[in-house]
């Protein structure tokens, strides 16, 4: 019942009350300034110091906080339809809102997969009442089988901007070539899960020191890099556009850097866990650390961080991959790969990229905890937020000038999709209290620094004081 | 068996602090000589007699008794060594590990076994030793020789040969060697 009521509510109705976000530091692509933000009717109506509070407006305290455009996740597995025991669009969107996201791109590896307008419409319709915008990615090939092309045009007509067979890469080079050529006409981006099956087959973790010690079949870095290199060649050949999902190795970074230097239309994302965890986590065979691509050695982690700082990496995406506990808590070889990410992404990334310990006194560029880390890798909070918000918004086709409503900037007339971040707040990750239906977070029991305090989605405060309202 | 070591193991582990010398080395030698006499007397000689020293405290005493017996009777009495760790009734409750080798000479069937230990306390070690001996054959009889009987029995066990009866408090500690018998305390580390 509540569901239908929500769905029926138009943005202006649901945001009938005005909001004032008071006392924070506004950070967006345009810069950083101390300002209050007034929201009404789903849009920002005023940004400035000492604004007058409209009568009846809700005031959200943002003292000591950053006020940023809502985060955008390019890579979310919402599991619906098909695996509602692991996650639903409703619970996944709730986790996203709590993590500061106002838009997520739902991956198409559902059951059935998003290889038809019917399934895409089902996902969009289920997402219409959710706590954030649920965009949908389409499959490149029918059934994600890597053989026949999915109806890219039909899906593009529904607003689908990203296509991927994620969970697997398109193995057949001629199929990928045809897809790139065909997609050119629809202004969409093909996103590749880079993994050469022949080389990776049977692997459960990164092939190297730890896999050798643990006696676990490994996935070499080259399984990813071969496909990155192949697809770069195909972009050159076809003039198409590829977004590389979750790159995880220093070699991939180098390939992407070279392709960008050449002027090819490639973009790349990394995940929070590849920026923060190494394959040594697998030492106890805990399947919660099994993920694809696998956690890599420290040298790769450092290379990914440096690539974030240098701009080679365009976005951080969570690869939020819920799995029902009874499936995930198995032996390492049987457990499915993937980990939760939406609710922990922001603090993990702030910590990994040297922006932890943001100190308002010193402005948004200060990185108090960056000491000891390579200076080149220490990023400003604004640049980190760029990786999580306005840069992925553009890749997803959700930016304002693309007809979307995400990624800011926060200015009068802009859609009110905003997250308010307390960079100093600490909280302990309790898997049982996460919004996801699943429990497979690698951060269980760890204390995070940095918390999303409020999230405003289409003018409505969907998260207030770290509590979800929808 | 090694009463002292057992008492010193965790969780009640501590350091032995000597207080009173109760027997000197000479006293110990005299007591062992007397025990040897009593063994011969009780058994009308040494036929079929085997000494079995309990690891680790009973072992030097059993060898000393054997040499006294040999001096007196001209007979070499076999000496066996027995570690009762695997037969203890506190396995799984406290750390129990074998402390030294078990070496029983041949089959004990029909033999007259004299168990030798340093201190008789609760009787549980002797109980374990009786069970262990049964696995080496059906002895004709088993007798018990101890240097010190300090009381506090928890099982119906009584020694046949005693060096010295010595009333003690339950928290005291008795240290026996060929150099003498010392009463002391265990203090926590």
């Amino acid at each position: 019942m509540a569901e239908s009521k929500r769905r029926g509510a138009s943005p202006s109705e649901s945001a009938s009350g005005s909001l004032v976000i008071r006392g924070g530091t506004v950070v967006d692509a345009g810069g950083t300034r101390v300002a209050d933000v007034v929201v009404s009717g789903g849009v920002v109506i005023e940004v400035g110091a000492e604004v007058a509070v409209p009568p009846g407006a809700t005031v959200l305290d943002a003292g000591g906080c950053l006020v940023a455009p809502g985060l955008v996740d390019l890579h979310t597995h919402l599991r619906q339809p098909g695996a509602e025991d692991a996650e639903t669009i409703e619970t996944g969107a709730r986790a996203a809102a709590l993590g500061g996201f106002t838009a997520v791109v739902a991956m198409p590896n559902t059951d059935p997969p998003v290889d038809s307008a019917a399934v895409a419409l089902e996902v969009l319709s289920l997402g219409s009442g959710a706590a954030c915008q649920v965009a949908v990615a389409g499959a490149i090939t029918m059934g994600r089988a890597g053989e026949r092309l999915a109806p890219i045009g039909e899906l593009a007509a529904l607003g689908v901007r990203l296509f991927t067979d994620d969970g697997a890469g398109v193995q057949d080079v001629s199929v990928m070539r045809r897809a790139l050529e065909y997609a050119r006409g629809f202004d969409v981006t093909l996103a590749q899960h880079c993994e050469d099956d022949a080389l990776a087959s049977g692997g459960h973790m990164h092939e190297g020191e730890w896999s050798s010690r643990l006696g676990v079949p490994g996935i070499p870095a080259e399984a990813e890099e071969l496909m990155v290199a192949r697809d770069i060649a195909l972009v050159r050949l076809t003039g198409g556009r590829v977004h590389f999902l979750h790159i995880s190795t220093a070699g991939s970074v180098a390939l992407v850097a070279a392709a960008k230097a050449e002027g090819l239309a490639v973009t790349a994302e990394v995940t929070p866990h590849h920026l923060s965890l190494t394959h040594a986590e697998l030492a106890g065979y805990d399947p919660v650390f099994k993920v694809n691509p696998p956690l890599r050695p420290e040298t790769d982690v450092c290379a990914l961080r440096a690539a974030c700082a240098s701009g080679i990496v365009d976005a951080v995406a969570t690869d939020h991959a819920p799995h029902a506990p009874e499936r995930k808590d198995a032996t390492l070889d049987v457990a499915p790969p993937g980990m939760l990410g939406l609710q922990t992404a922001l603090p993990v990334v702030l910590g990994a990229l040297g922006a932890a310990g943001f100190d308002r006194e010193h402005g948004a560029g200060s990185a108090r905890n960056g000491a000891g880390r390579d200076r080149a890798q220490v990023m400003s909070v604004r640049d980190v937020l760029g990786l999580l918000s306005w840069r992925p918004a553009r890749i997803a086709g959700l930016a304002r000038d693309q007809g979307g409503e995400h990624g800011g900037p926060i200015e009068p007339g802009a859609p009110a999709n905003i997250c308010v971040i307390d960079p100093a707040a600490t909280w302990e990750v309790d898997p049982a209290r996460l919004a996801s239906r699943s429990r497979n977070t690698p951060w269980a029991g760890r204390v995070m620094t940095g918390q999303v305090r409020h999230t405003v989605f289409r003018g409505e405060a969907v998260v207030v004081d770290a509590q979800v309202q929808r | 068996m090694a009463e002292r070591e057992r008492r010193l193991t965790p969780p009640r582990g501590g350091v032995f602090v000597p207080r009173v010398q109760v027997l000197t080395a000479q006293d110990v030698q005299r007591a062992l000589t007397r025990i040897a006499h009593e063994i011969i007397e009780r058994n009308h000689g040494l036929e079929d007699v085997v000494l079995v020293g309990l690891q680790t405290g009973g072992v030097p005493l059993s060898f000393r008794i054997a040499s006294v017996l040999e001096e007196m009777e001209g007979t070499v009495v076999p000496v066996g060594l027995l570690d009762v760790a695997f037969y203890r009734d506190d396995i799984g409750i406290r750390p129990v590990l074998p402390e030294a080798a078990t070496d029983i000479p041949g089959d004990l069937a029909g033999q007259l076994v004299v168990l030798v230990d340093d201190v008789l306390f609760t009787g549980r070690t002797v109980r374990a030793a009786l069970n262990a001996l049964a696995d080496y054959g059906r002895a004709r009889a088993v007798q018990l020789a101890v240097m010190v009987d300090r009381g506090h029995r928890e099982l119906p066990i009584r020694p046949d040969y005693v060096g010295k009866n010595m009333p003690t408090r339950i928290d005291e500690q008795v240290d026996v060697s060929l150099d003498g018998v010392v009463l002391g305390d265990v203090v926590p580390r």
Binding site: E207, G208, E209, S211, S212, R213, L214, G215, V216, P217, G218, P220, A283, G284, Y285, P287, E326, R327, D329, A330, T331, L332, D333, V334, A335 | T9, P10, P11, G13, D83, A85, F86, Y87, R88, I91, G92, I93, R94, P95, V96, L97, P98, A100, A101, T102, D103, D107, N131, A132, D135, Y136, G137
Partner: protein, 345 residues
């Protein structure tokens, strides 16, 4: 490596947890059980009333019999549980199986499984001690321990010393070649860790495709592709079993070619020093990794390894189950050298 464990049980999951001291302690306790094995009644009441389950999700008659004999000689009750590997292909059913068996009141699980890390998973799930009896390509700790025991026994005999007076110094500088399919061998992983911890100089000899992708962190003195060059300079030649399916073209051109380059033929055996020991974890592929006439050489210790296996496994079970749970009135962690002590929440 610390596993979460319910109730503070001790486990033996990897040699890595033991260190030199832990290995030495197990070898010493094994001496006492070798003595028990020589008795006319080779049985002690130590684990009366305890229940040991052998949970084998992979065929291995020898290891299972060895563990079951060990448990029975300790007077434990033994439940034998074979899991059809095909039915355990889904991990959830392994967990269900294990939890169901555990509910019957089990003190220890002896786990053999095709998946590396399965014993660690069982240790997470149940309120009991877990012994790794071989998991995938990972480890087979009791095999390495019995191999070390056997080496020490032979060296002590040669030196004319009693076993109880022989520590583990005999391993320092001992030159050991481990030959064959190291990549897929749990025995090799455990043995390298054990011998390395004890100070031996270990050389791996294998074709490149049968070496692990990385040897970082392995306590090795060298790696060689040339068995003929290595044999004259070793004290122990340890041959690994070649799974015949490895020769189907995936890792080797053929088993015949493997045998020609890495098999211990009688010609190669002649390259060994007179005192060199030849060992094999069994069961042997006669004519592949070892020629039939070499297996019969007196210096080959195969049968002695088998009989020592029972004593070593008695020692392991006794030390896991005979010392009380961590933090429940028995020993405290760290007060006594223990098997991979683990404190649970």
């Amino acid at each position: 490596m610390t596993e979460l464990s319910k109730g503070g049980h001790r486990h033996l999951l990897s040699i890595a947890e033991l260190g030199a001291d832990g290995i030495e302690e197990i070898l010493e306790v094994s001496d006492a059980f070798v003595e028990v094995g020589r008795r006319s009644i080779p049985k002690v009441p130590s684990l009366r009333g305890r229940t040991v389950v052998t949970l084998f999700a992979e065929q291995s008659t020898r290891t299972r019999l060895s563990f079951e004999t060990a448990a029975k000689r300790l007077s434990a009750d033994v439940l034998s549980f074979s899991v059809d590997t095909s039915s355990v292909k889904k991990g959830e059913s392994l967990r269900d199986t294990v939890e169901t068996v555990a509910a019957m009141g089990v003190d220890a699980f002896v786990v053999r499984h095709t998946s590396a890390g399965a014993p660690a998973a069982v240790a997470r799930w149940v309120d009991a001690s877990v012994v790794n009896a071989g998991d995938g390509w990972h480890e087979h700790p009791t095999q390495a321990l019995l191999d070390c025991y056997t080496i020490r026994q032979v060296l002590a005999e040669r030196a004319g010393r009693a076993l109880e007076d022989t520590g583990v110094e005999c391993f320092v500088g001992l030159r050991v070649a481990i030959v064959g399919d190291v990549r897929h061998s749990r025995v090799a992983r455990s043995l390298v860790l054990a011998l390395g911890a004890l100070g031996a100089e270990v050389t791996l000899v294998a074709p490149g495709s049968l070496l692990p992708p990385s040897l970082e962190g392995w306590p090795l003195s060298k790696v060689s592709y040339d068995l003929d060059a290595v044999l004259p300079h070793v004290d122990v030649c340890y041959l690994l079993r070649l799974q015949s399916e490895r020769g189907a073209g995936a890792f080797l051109p053929s088993v015949r070619e493997y045998s020609a380059w890495y098999g211990l033929t009688s010609r190669r055996a002649a390259l060994l020093g007179d005192d060199a020991l030849v060992m094999h974890p069994g069961p042997m592929n006669r004519g592949i990794e070892i020629a039939d006439d070499v297996a019969a050489l007196p210096r080959s210790l195969v049968l002695r390894q088998v009989s020592n296996g029972v004593a070593v496994r008695m020692a392991v079970l006794f030390m896991l189950l005979g010392q009380g749970q961590v933090g429940t009135g028995g020993s405290g962690p760290g007060l006594l050298p223990t098997l991979g002590t683990v404190v649970g929440g």
